[in-house]
Amino acid sequence: MPEPLVRQDQAHFFASLDEDVLAAVDAVDETEAPASMWQDAWRNLRARPLFWVSAAIILLVVVVAIFPKLFTSVDPNYCELQNSLKRPASGHPFGFDFQGCDIYARTIYGARASVAVGVLTTILVTILGAVIGAIAGFYAGWFDALLSRVTDIFFAIPFVLAAVLVMAMFRAHRNIFTVVLVLGIFGWPQIARITRGAVMSVKNADFITAAKALGASRPAALVRHVMPNSLAPIIVTATVSLGTFIVAEATLSFLGLGLPPSVVSWGADVAKAQQQLRSYPGILFYPAGALALTVLGFIMMGDAVRDALDPKARKR
C-alpha cells in the first residue's frame, strides 16, 4: 500500500494527556448504598404519586376492615323498620336502607368480607399457582404438557359462571372460606401460567448453569435462584387480581350465591338496593362506591408495582 496523502485537517491529533480519566474505569463506587432489586424497586415506587394514593386507599380499607368499631358504634345488623329509607341524620350520615339498617355502618362492616375474601383468595391462588407453575416451567416434560392443557380448560370456563355453579351446590354451608375455596379453584391457572413463563425465561440463564456446575441440585437451583428471579411478575399479577377477587365475591353475593345474609357484604347490599334505586339511590351508591374505591386501590397498586419492578425501568 502506498503511503496515503495526509490532508492538513486530518493530521495526527491527540487530546491533552489526562491520565486520571482512565483510573475511573476500574473503580467501584464505594459511597452509595448497595442496591438490591427490591431496594431499587422501593426507591422507584417512592417517587410515584400513584403508589401513595393507592397505598392510602388500601391502608384505609384495611384499617376499616380490621377495626370497624373505630369508625362506627352502630351495629350493622340492628335494623328497625320504622327507620326504613330515612334520609341522613346526625349519627347516621348515609341514612337508612329499606330494612331500616344504618347504611354507613353496613358500608364500614362490609369492608371486612371484601378484604378477607380478596386477601385469602389471593394467598391461596398465589401459593397454588406459583408452585404448580414453577414445577411445570422448571421440569417441563409430561407434567408441563398436562398442566398446560388443564389451564387451557380452566381458561375456557368463564370464571364467574363456574363459581356461580359451584357455589349453588354449597348452598347449605356458605361462608367466607367456601367462597375463597371456590374462587381459588378457578383462579389459580392465571398465576400458574405467569409463573411458568417467568420460570422458563429464567431457567436457561447462565447463572443457573453456574449454580448447577457448583453442585447445586435442581430443586435448590429452583428455590434459590429461579424463584426469586421470577417473583416480580407473580407479585404484580397477584396484586391486580386481588381487586378482581373482591369484585367476584361481590358478584356472587349480589346473585345471592356468595356470603350468607348474616355476613355484611357490599355485593349483597347492592343487590338489595336495586329495588329502591329510584326512590333512594343513596342505598346503592355507598356500598357500590366503597367497592369501586377498594378495587381501584388494589389495581392502581398493581400498576405502580409493575412499573417499579420493570427491569427496563432500573437505573443501573
Partner: protein, 580 residues
C-alpha cells in the same frame, strides 16, 4: 488483499473534487436527557471525511462512537439532541436542518449499514421487497424496473443467485447473507457516504473478512466514502486510512491509521494498541515472568510449557454428541451431530484452546466437560477416572474441581444475589468452613481478582461488565478447582477489559497451577493465552498442535483461513508479521 471485482451498473462518474471535505464535523456536543439528568454522550468531537475515503471511529461500548455517527443523519435514539457544534455535509449545514432535509439525505446521499443483521431486516417482508423499498423511497426506480435493479444490487453485494434470493424471507438467509442484503440496501441509492456501524461484529471471522473485502472493493469502485464504527482497532486500522479514537464521548486521538498504531500518543490509545489481541503476537506473560524477563518473546507457563513431563489431567476420547432435532413431520426427529469423534488431552497447569466458528460444536464439548451434558459416545477421563462412571457423590466432588466461566457477565451472576452471597454460595453448597471462615474466603477471593473487599455488599447491576466477569472468575475459584472451563469468557468484553481479564487468568494460572480449557472463536485471543490449540470445524477437530505451531505453520486450509481472517493480521506494525 483480494479486490472484489463486480460488474457495476450506472456507476456515478466520480467527478467530485477529492480535495474538499465531504463531511466536516466540528466541536459537536450531543446530550441525552435521562431520569438522572443530562448525559453528555459526545463532547467537542471533530471529524473530517474526504470523498471516497475510508475513516474509522474506534472506541469501546459507551464511548459515543455510534452516537456521533447517528447524529450525522439525525437518527439519535430517544432524547438525544445535538446541543452544539456543526456538521457540514457537502457544503450544507446539518445541525438544525429540518426533517425534510434529512429525509432527502438519508439513503440518497448518506447510506447506513446497521449493526445487527439479525434484527435489522423486517422478518415478514421478502428481501427483495426491502431492497425495493430503498429504491422507491429515494425515487430511483419503481415497478418492474425496480425488481430488475434489486437483483442487480443484491448480486453486486455478493449474493449468488440474486434474482431467486430476492424472493426469500430474512429467516432463509444466513447472518452473512443478511449483512450483504443490508449492504445492498445501504448502497441502493448510490450515496456519497456510507456509515457502517459495526457491520460485521455479529458474524464469524471468515465471513467478516469476506464481507469487508467485498464492501471495500465495491465502495472503491463507486467512489463512496465509508465511515466505519468499530470496537476493533485491528479491523479499523486495516480498513481505514484515517482513525478517530473515542473515549468517554471525546475524541482522544485521531490521525493516519498507521501513525496511530505505530506511535500512539494519548494514554488511552497506548493502552488500546497494547491490548488489541489482533495485534498481539505472543502469549501474555504472568506477573512473575513479566518481572523477570520482560523481553523474552515466547514466555511459557512456568517456563516448561507443554513438555511431556507435565502430568495429563484430562483425556477426551472419541467424544460424540448427537442431538435430536424436531423434524418436518409430526413426531419426526432429525439427528444432528454437534460433536463428532473428538479426542484431545489437557495437561495440568496448561491452557488448551478449542477454537471454532459458531456451530462448530465447541460449546457442546465445554458442557460435556462440565458434566452438564451426557455424551452420546466416547469417554472423558479426569485424572484417570471416567466421568460417566461417577456416582452422585463422586459427581458432587467432581464439581468442586472443574468450574466454568461464561461469556456474558450480565447473565452469569444472579441479579438477586449480592456479591457476597454469590461468592459464598459455592462454599455453602459444599459445606466449606463456618460463617466466619467463609467471609474470610470471600475477602480473599475478591483480593485475588483485584476488587476491594467492600464490593461484596454490592449487587451485580452496580458493577461494570469487566468487574462482573472478575466476580465470575472469583466464584469459579472459590472451591479451589483444578480446571476452569472458559466458554468465550472474554468475547463479550471491551478490548481493555478483555486484556485485563486475560492477564488475570494468566496470573492466576501461574500462581495456583490452574488448568484452562479455553473455548473461543477468536484466534487472536488464543495467541495470548493458550499453550495448545485444537481447531474445530463442524463438530470435528481439524487441527491440533501447540499454539506456536498453529500460528507459524498451519497445516490445514481452514486454519489458514481463520488466521487470515484475524483483522489486522496483515499489519506489520510491530515488524512481526504472522505467517499468511
Amino acid at each position: 488483499m483480494s479486490r472484489t471485482t463486480v460488474e457495476l451498473t450506472d456507476t456515478q462518474a466520480p467527478l467530485v473534487d477529492r480535495n474538499s471535505p465531504l463531511l466536516q464535523v466540528r466541536n459537536l456536543d450531543v446530550s441525552f436527557t435521562t431520569a438522572t439528568g443530562v448525559v453528555n454522550a459526545v463532547r467537542g468531537a471533530d471529524l473530517t471525511i474526504y470523498p471516497g475515503q475510508a475513516v474509522a471511529i474506534v472506541g469501546e461500548s459507551g464511548s459515543g462512537k455510534s452516537t456521533l455517527a447517528h447524529s450525522i443523519i439525525n437518527l439519535l435514539p430517544g432524547t438525544g439532541r445535538v446541543t452544539a457544534g456543526s456538521i457540514l455535509f457537502d457544503g450544507r449545514e446539518l445541525v438544525g436542518a429540518d426533517k425534510k432535509t434529512f429525509v432527502g439525505l438519508r439513503g440518497k446521499e448518506i447510506g447506513l449499514v446497521p449493526q445487527d443483521p439479525m434484527t435489522n431486516l423486517n422478518p415478514v417482508w421478502k428481501i427483495g421487497y426491502q431492497v425495493k423499498e430503498a429504491l422507491k423511497a429515494n425515487g430511483i426506480a419503481s415497478g418492474r424496473a425496480a425488481m430488475t435493479r434489486v437483483a442487480e444490487l443484491l448480486a453486486e453485494a455478493g449474493l449468488p443467485d440474486a434474482a431467486r434470493r430476492a424472493n426469500q424471507y430474512p429467516h432463509e438467509f444466513s447472518g452473512g447473507m443478511r449483512q450483504r442484503a443490508l449492504i445492498a440496501i445501504g448502497l441502493a441509492a448510490r450515496p456519497k457516504l456510507l456509515i457502517a456501524d459495526e457491520p460485521t461484529s455479529a458474524l464469524d471471522v471468515t465471513v467478516q473478512r469476506k464481507i469487508l473485502d467485498h464492501l471495500e472493493g465495491l465502495t472503491d469502485q463507486l467512489g463512496t466514502a465509508v465511515l466505519f464504527i468499530t470496537h476493533d482497532l485491528g479491523l479499523a486500522a486495516e480498513r481505514a486510512e484515517h482513525l478517530v479514537v473515542m473515549y468517554r464521548g471525546q475524541v482522544v486521538e485521531s490521525g493516519p491509521a498507521r501513525k496511530i498504531l505505530a506511535d500512539p500518543q494519548h494514554p488511552y490509545t497506548k493502552r488500546l494498541v497494547a491490548s488489541a489481541p489482533s495485534l498481539a503476537s505472543r502469549r501474555i506473560q504472568s506477573a512473575k515472568e513479566r518481572g523477570e524477563r520482560a523481553t523474552e518473546l515466547l514466555a511459557i507457563t512456568h517456563g516448561d510449557g507443554v513438555s511431556p513431563a507435565r502430568q495429563e489431567l484430562i483425556r477426551v476420547e472419541h467424544l460424540t454428541k448427537v442431538f435430536e432435532l424436531r423434524g418436518g413431520g409430526a413426531g419426526a426427529t432429525k439427528e444432528f451431530k454437534a460433536v463428532d469423534d473428538v479426542s484431545f488431552t489437557v495437561r495440568r497447569g496448561t491452557t488448551m484452546a478449542l477454537v471454532g466458528e459458531s456451530g462448530s460444536g465447541k460449546s457442546t464439548v465445554a458442557n460435556i466437560m462440565l458434566n452438564l451434558l451426557q455424551p452420546t459416545e466416547g469417554k472423558i477421563y479426569f485424572e484417570g477416572t471416567d466421568l460417566h462412571s461417577l456416582d452422585r457423590k463422586g459427581e458432587f466432588s467432581f464439581r468442586r474441581r472443574v468450574q466454568p466461566i461464561f461469556q456474558n457477565p450480565y447473565g452469569s451472576l444472579d441479579p438477586m444475589y449480592s456479591i457476597f452471597r454469590t461468592l459464598e454460595e459455592p462454599l455453602r453448597i459444599h459445606h466449606v468452613g463456618d460463617k466466619k471462615a467463609r467471609e474470610k474466603r470471600v475477602r480473599e477471593l475478591l483480593d485475588m481478582v483485584a476488587l476491594p473487599a467492600s464490593t461484596m455488599r454490592r449487587f451485580p447491576n452496580e458493577l461494570s461488565g469487566g468487574q462482573r466477569q472478575r466476580i465470575a472468575v472469583a466464584r469459579a475459584l472459590a472451591l479451589e478447582p483444578d480446571v476452569i472451563v472458559c466458554d468465550e469468557a472474554v468475547s463479550a468484553l471491551d478490548v481493555l477489559v478483555q486484556a485485563q481479564i486475560l492477564t488475570l487468568l494468566n496470573d492466576l494460572q501461574a500462581e495456583l497451577g490452574l488448568t484452562y480449557l479455553f473455548i473461543t472463536h477468536d484466534l487472536a485471543v488464543v495467541r495470548q493465552i493458550a499453550d495448545e490449540v485444537s481447531v474445530m470445524q463442524s463438530g470435528r477437530i481439524v487441527e491440533a498442535a501447540t499454539t506456536d505451531e498453529v500460528f507459524d505453520n498451519p497445516r490445514e486450509e481452514y486454519t489458514r483461513e481463520l488466521l487470515n481472517a484475524i483483522p489486522g493480521a496483515h499489519l506489520d506494525v510491530f515488524g512481526a508479521p504472522p505467517a499468511a
